[in-house]
Symmetry: C2
Subunit: 298 residues, 2 copies
């Protein structure tokens, strides 16, 4: 088996954060990320950009001498081990409602014990949340995800695409959060090098998936109607993150840094009782044609 190189993962994650922030700054052309180093991570936040109303790209690295009880409930073999968890997590909320929100995350977990093999796994993925749907954008997003997965086997993209559809799902709304992408967890198949390689392929492809969509839609004019719908739909993002997202809930419950965890929440959000889209409107098309899980490569 291959050697578990924790330092290499950390170095990759830090450089991924640098790389993504740099690309998004160039794309935005106006605002810069502001860094906040808080000891167990560095948060980078951009606000009031030309394209990006609020964007957060967070690196975190937490460790402990013993696994928390909650984390070993169904993995008793990890009890008493020291552990490290590290990852990059980001959410970008554009200003123009024709630009979709995107989320990406890559993460690594390792539990160690002297004289024994470390237990480790990778997780991550990315998903897209449009307010107004464009088939071309969804196909590009999923095609990029597909290409990142392809070197790792034909079954990889469909499997993680489906997992993403299942994970980013608002049960109380019977509604997907967006048009999906990739989601994987507990990955250690094929050894460390291969799993780490896959996590890098996902991380490296995020900007290739997202930035061309920002560029393609950035000049589209929008008005109050589109803005109001965007603010309304952002409510679903909040509902998902606070009610369902495991990472958010685990972070809040385990004493993580609240401001870094909730960096993902949109800058401005609205709720309206019992709102329904008009028949045959572009807003209705989002619900009808984009949110129900689809094969975007067909």
């Amino acid at each position: 088996m291959s050697h578990v190189d924790i330092a290499a993962v950390k170095q990759y994650l830090l450089s991924l954060q640098d790389h993504i922030c740099a690309e998004l700054e160039v794309c935005d052309g106006q605002a810069r990320f502001v860094e906040d180093d808080w000891g167990r991570g560095r948060s980078r936040v951009m606000t009031d950009g030309a394209l990006i109303e609020k964007g957060g790209v967070n690196f975190s690295h937490v460790q402990g001498d013993t696994m928390p009880a909650s984390a070993t409930a169904h993995r008793p073999e990890l009890a008493g081990r020291r552990y490290q968890a590290m990852g990059v997590s980001l959410v970008i909320h554009p200003l123009n409602p024709y630009l979709p929100t995107s989320h990406a995350n890559v993460r690594f977990f390792v539990a160690e014990k002297d004289g024994e093999e470390p237990v480790w796994w990778f997780g991550g993925g990315y998903d897209l949340t449009p307010y107004y749907g464009f088939e071309e954008d969804c196909r590009h997003w999923h095609q990029t995800a597909f290409e990142a997965c392809a070197p790792f086997g034909d079954e990889v993209y469909p499997r993680y695409k489906q997992w993403c559809d299942e994970y980013f799902y608002l049960k109380h709304r019977d509604e997907a959060r967006g048009v999906g992408g990739l989601f994987f967890d507990d990955l250690n198949e094929g050894g460390f090098e291969r799993s780490f390689g896959f996590m890098q392929a996902v991380g490296d492809s995020y900007c290739k998936a997202y930035v061309p969509i920002l560029q393609r839609r950035r000049e589209m004019p929008w008005g109050e109607r589109e803005r109001q719908f965007q603010l309304y739909r952002r409510g679903r993002y909040v509902e998902f993150n606070l009610v369902f997202d495991r990472g958010t809930l685990f972070g809040l419950q385990s004493g993580g840094r609240t401001e870094s965890i909730l960096m993902s929440l949109p800058p401005l959000v609205r709720w309206e009782y019992n709102w329904q889209p008009e028949d045959n409107s572009p807003e209705q098309a989002l619900y009808r044609d984009f949110l129900p899980p689809r094969d975007w490569l067909a």
Copy 2:
């Protein structure tokens, strides 16, 4: 023991909903509640009032042939019983940031089985969430709560005041949701009549606690600074309701009507990374002088 009169509770709750809506409409003077009858309840929502930006006053009555497994996990004696749960729940979000948000709830639960005594309890309370603190308002709110409790014993107000402080607490922020009020649950001490009477005393005193505060502050001029702080603080309300509130989570997880459950969410909300109030500002005073639990009757 006294007879459990389910019909009387239902009649009280429906008349309470009527009464509160009527009082708030008079107070607002501009907007009306719009009713939505959805079979297992009636939701009433007011939007864009002179005082009330969004207010929801919901009556619901759900029943089932057998208790859900989740509800009998630590009350095995209820397994297999048919049950009814009914209540009035409301949240009022004023437009003027000098007017506090308020929440009230009264509820009744009964589990029945042929040939056996019904198992039942009452719950409820109300709590106040100011954006800008006024000692006079907090004292009035708590004094009204105190007077509602007084006929039921000297220990009642302090006990339920403390329970409220403990319940409406955002652990991840180490911060109270507001200045509290009353919270009680599992109440069946002293028999049905007495418990029902206490629930009525709480329900009936809500408008006496809240309306005078709306009247006292309604003419206070406010601007963009106060509005932005209000929208920011409303984020805490969303965080509490979606992450911690048992009623919200139980409703969403048990297939309740999402739009009625989430009626409590504010109309417009904002999140800002790592925001801090300025020293010696009225915003800082909220955190320093009002949110930490206090004895408001001292």
